[in-house]
């Protein structure tokens, strides 16, 4: 039996996965935008972003715009690589299942 790939536990969390995926499609995003897109609570979102930051997968910048505090996040190279590897691992895990599914579809049609 071929060895199955390990899924990166930092990326595997559903909200963290959503955050990395969102950040991979933009240059940078504000905390409020990420909260609106994921509809997560402030506490949960902050905690998951902190885990990603500690893993070196996202960079954070805090600044003031028109005297209002603004927290901006961006995916790092390590984060992008981790997401790509995670997708590759998922595809590898699902490979036989997807092959079987498409064969079944062909048989039925």
């Amino acid at each position: 039996m071929p060895e199955l790939p390990e899924l990166n536990p930092v990326v595997h969390g559903r909200l963290r996965l959503a955050l990395l995926s969102l950040l991979s499609g933009v240059e940078e995003a504000e905390f409020t935008w990420l909260r609106a897109k994921t509809e997560a609570t402030d506490g949960n979102l902050g905690a998951q972003l902190l885990k990603l930051e500690e893993a070196g997968y996202v960079g954070v910048e805090k600044k003031f715009v028109l005297r209002k505090p603004q927290t901006v996040y961006r995916i790092t190279e390590a984060g992008r690589r981790a997401l790509i590897e995670y997708v590759q691992a998922l595809n590898q895990l699902l490979g036989p299942a997807m092959d079987a599914e498409s064969a079944l579809h062909k048989e039925r049609s």
Partner: protein, 200 residues
């Protein structure tokens, strides 16, 4: 890892990744209101200029519309992602705004805004250019259709009578500013409704 539930979960994760990446790239700001605002502004300026016979009708209306647009943009500015597509599209509309503002302010104040055909043709061509560029960047067919309508209006303005030119311009404003703006706002609202919460 290979049982049915896990497989389904893994597939869900793949689709979550795809949908989130698409979500990030989508223009999240609704700019439909600006199209409606400028459509109404054109109607007001035309009415004021036709019945009020005032040379300041266009410059003043354009100035007010610019101020309202800038205030609205500033209020929305604090909640967005930075994307290359967003910046490219924004650049097109900002450049259009500056060009129109300077051109029509100068034409209005100098009193040389007298040829109605030329005026309608220039506005239509500029709006056709901006809509066309934005549509090509975003690959948005509905907006490209608006660009085609503006280009057609620009050409028609050069050949038709005064009445025909005015009617074509009014129809183009209605279709490409007011109807398109409302369509954009509704599409954005529907998209917002479809979103589901994601938890850790």
């Amino acid at each position: 890892m290979q049982d049915h539930t896990t497989e389904q979960e893994l597939k869900d994760r793949l689709s979550l990744i795809e949908s989130m990446i698409a979500e990030g790239r989508r223009n999240t700001e609704s700019w439909g209101w600006t199209f409606v605002l400028w459509g109404v502004a054109y109607y007001l300026a035309m009415a004021w200029s036709a019945w009020g016979h005032s040379a300041s009708a266009w410059p003043v209306t354009i100035l007010i519309a610019v101020v309202v647009t800038v205030i609205g943009a500033c209020l929305k500015a604090g909640n967005h992602p930075a994307t290359t597509l967003g910046r490219a599209t924004g650049a097109v509309w900002i450049a259009l705004g500056i060009s129109m503002f300077l051109l029509f302010l100068a034409l209005g104040l100098s009193g040389r805004l007298t040829d109605q055909h030329l005026f309608a043709a220039v506005i239509s061509a500029i709006l056709g250019m901006a809509n066309g560029a934005s549509a090509l960047i975003l690959r948005w067919k509905v907006q490209f259709a608006c660009a085609v309508v503006w280009w057609a209006a620009a050409v028609a303005s050069c050949f038709g009578t005064d009445a025909q030119s005015t009617i074509v311009f009014l129809v183009a404003i209605f279709l490409c500013q007011i109807a398109f703006g409302i369509y954009g706002a509704i599409a954005e609202a529907q998209e917002r409704k479809r979103r589901v919460p994601i938890h850790a």
